[in-house]
């Protein structure tokens, strides 16, 4: 939307109302993390700023467009709106975005088939000309999270939006994540030059190896290679699909002596948030005694040359394929990440390779569920696929189920369900399991984390939920579950499943990098979200302020200050004081059904009042007009009579003279 007045100051103040479901609250915070990773848009709990986004549960999912500077600006996340991309979509509205197909140039890219639209819903397909909407010099985006799907508002089964390039017909309407162009527009609109939590991404495609350095004090080196004789034969970035490109770093353990080491140190990082997630792909086909150690070299005033701290090690179980790994860090000072390859005892015909590193100040997923050869045939043959048994940090055992959904012998969609299972801690845990959020994400394996559009669903355990047989749904699996046997013969209980049959469509599953080299990675986490049942602290509302009406707010600066002239001006009823021609005036609070008026916003008016005023004014005007008309008619009649009488007298006189 054109107009700097519609921009929010950064960070954007938000308030999560008590009416919101816990799952939605946790997902809003998750959506904010996606904004932080990919843009400079940050969010902060409302601390009394004059304008803020109030997220609440009404029926439906909706938002205003842009910052309307009306104080509390509502954004609703009703039933079934607790999906991360839905929340991203609604917040994009709030940040100033219309729908993608409302662009001024949309008719160049899509055809709206008006006679397939539900009668009376044609107004949903507006176009805003370039005086009202600005596409920020970004091409039309079929992949935008703000685009309608082809079936939007359809009457029947034929599409209402037909893309001019047929290949995009099933692309429009994605609800996975921001598209690249969504991010480009958002970053342009808010003048972003960096993001909040992203730190680094490295595919080793260039000779500068992303500023990494071969460490000192080692007796071997990492090599920057296109392939290694003993494997891997391809990197992970391109998987051999790009000739003469596809580099990775390799440490060979096939030569040398046990104990030989090679250090690869990252460039310097300056943490802001104090927690980080390091993600990388590795290929480990050496001896099971070889190790890949991760260290941190942290620089402080006391240790200007850096102190090495061991973090974790990858060792044992070599395999002839690329694997994914996450490392959680909590570094607060300037630091480097150090990859240390160590040759172990025993023969080796391989070593370690690393590729596609991503580093961000974010939380890591708890588990990686790697499914190899995740093809149409394999999943159809296997039917339901269950993850290995996993544990939440507080001890609940669970499994995630993935299965095809749809008619046999046709392209299938993917369903996903979360199950509690019996575990080692069941006797000490609280039952039914209360307010644990399970996050299930199919990872888009784009090498750059900022360009990923991963598909995620989250569910939260509700301790009061009842199953069809009257049992509590999230009670102890040994009580409400069914007996199942692991492949190794161990018997356990699996509770009922909770999830969705519409996790991802067949076409989208086979798009992007969800199945890179045929492999799928599900990132799984279970978190205690019970703290979100407490109300967000309410600050004392500020009644006076000076909103920056014409300036684009700086992404790095907080909200506006209160001007002197407004001090003590005394706008009532949450009215906001602004300067107009250097004089303080009140901007009054407005909602859909009522608003305040008056110099100090002292009077409340509702839409019903206006209706009464309109009707009574019309009646009064009609009555007055009627009186005026009747009076005029009477006067004219009287005048006319007088004229007739005068005329009669004159005629009599004339006749008299005649005679």
């Amino acid at each position: 939307i054109i107009g700097d007045r519609y921009r929010w100051p950064i960070p954007v103040p938000y308030f999560l109302e008590d009416s919101l479901e816990i799952n939605a609250k946790a997902l809003v915070l998750e959506a904010f993390e996606r904004y932080r990773l990919k843009t400079c848009i940050d969010f902060k709990p409302w601390e009394g700023e004059p304008n803020y986004i109030s997220v609440f549960k009404d029926s439906g999912c909706y938002s205003y467009v842009g910052n309307l500077r009306q104080g509390k600006q509502q954004l609703s996340l009703g039933v079934n709106c607790d999906r991360i991309a839905t929340i991203q979509h609604e917040f994009l509205h709030a940040l100033g975005f219309w729908h993608e197909q409302s662009r001024a140039d949309r008719d160049d890219y899509v055809t709206i088939v008006w006679d397939r639209i539900l009668p009376g819903r044609e107004h949903n397909f507006n176009v805003y000309d370039d005086t009202r909407s600005n596409s920020l010099n970004v091409p039309y985006d079929y992949t935008s999270v703000m685009h309608y799907s082809k079936t939007a508002f359809q009457n029947g089964s034929e599409p209402t939006i037909v893309t001019k390039i047929d290949a995009f017909s099933d692309v429009i309407g994605q609800r996975m994540d921001f598209s690249d162009y969504d991010l480009e527009k958002l970053n342009r609109l808010y003048n972003c030059s960096s993001s909040i939590s992203f730190m680094d991404s490295c595919t080793f495609e260039y000779n500068n190896i992303c500023g990494m350095i071969q460490g000192t004090g080692d007796n071997s080196d990492w090599n920057h290679v296109l392939l290694s004789a003993a494997g891997p034969s391809n990197d992970h970035t391109h998987l051999g699909n790009c000739k003469d490109s596809g580099y990775y770093m390799h440490f060979s353990t096939s030569t040398g002596n046990a104990g030989d080491k090679a250090l690869l140190e990252s460039r310097l990082f300056y943490p802001k948030r104090g927690f980080q997630c390091l993600e990388f792909f590795y290929y480990y086909n050496g001896n099971e005694n070889d190790a890949l150690n991760i260290w941190i070299r942290e620089y402080t005033e006391a240790s200007p040359n850096g102190t090495l701290t061991f973090i974790t090690s990858i060792k044992g179980n070599p395999a002839e394929y690329w694997q994914l790994h996450h490392v959680s860090l909590n570094v607060k000072n300037k630091f480097r990440v150090v990859f240390e390859g160590v040759k172990g005892n025993g023969p080796s015909n391989g070593g370690f390779a690393i590729d596609d590193i991503n580093f961000s100040e974010a939380l890591c997923p708890h588990y990686i569920w790697h499914i190899r050869n995740f093809t149409h045939e394999s999943i159809k043959e296997n039917g339901r696929i269950y993850s290995p048994p996993l544990y939440s940090k507080d001890g609940y055992a669970y499994q995630v189920q993935v299965r095809p959904n749809g008619p046999a012998d046709s392209p299938y969609d993917l369903a996903i369900y979360f199950h509690l299972i019996s575990g080692a801690n069941d006797d000490t845990l609280q039952w039914p399991c209360s307010l644990r959020q399970a996050k299930m994400e199919l990872m888009d394996q784009n090498p750059d984390i900022r360009k990923r559009m991963s598909n995620q669903r989250s569910i939260t355990t509700d301790p009061t939920q009842v199953a069809s047989n009257g049992d509590l749904f999230w009670d102890k699996p040994a009580k409400v579950g069914t007996s199942v046997t692991f492949p190794n013969g161990t018997q356990f209980f699996r509770g009922p499943g909770y999830g969705t049959s519409a996790f991802i469509s067949h076409d989208r599953l086979h798009s992007r990098d969800f199945l890179k080299g045929g492999d799928a990675f599900f990132l799984l986490s279970v978190e205690d979200v019970s703290h979100l049942s407490a109300s967000q602290p309410t600050p004392v509302p500020t009644t006076t302020t000076k909103p920056p009406v014409t300036d684009i707010p700086s992404p790095t600066k907080p909200g506006p200050d209160v001007p002197k002239e407004c001090e003590g001006f005394g706008c009532k009823n949450d009215g906001v004081c602004v300067l107009e021609n250097e004089k303080p005036v009140c901007r009054c609070k407005v909602t859909k059904d009522w608003w305040y008026v008056g110099d100090k916003c002292e009077r409340k008016v509702s839409s019903q009042d206006t209706l009464v005023i309109a009707v009574s004014s019309s009646v009064t005007i009609f009555a007055v007009m009627l009186i005026i008309t009747l009076t005029s008619v009477l006067c004219l009649k009287k005048k006319h009579k007088k004229q007739i009488a005068k005329a009669g007298k004159a005629q009599t006189t004339e006749n008299a003279y005649t005679f």
Partner: protein, 45 residues
């Protein structure tokens, strides 16, 4: 009555619900499906 092994609750009820389907289902007829207009500059004449 014990639960069946395949007892599952589908939060989407077997449908692919987009924002606009949810709002239609809730009986809302919002501007462009999920937008509230408040400002005179935004309101359609």
């Amino acid at each position: 009555v014990p639960l069946q092994d395949n007892t599952e609750i589908d939060v989407d009820g077997g449908k692919k619900l987009d924002i606009f389907d949810i709002n239609e289902g809730a009986g809302l007829d919002l501007f462009e499906g999920d937008i509230i207009l408040a400002d005179t500059n935004q309101r359609n004449s």
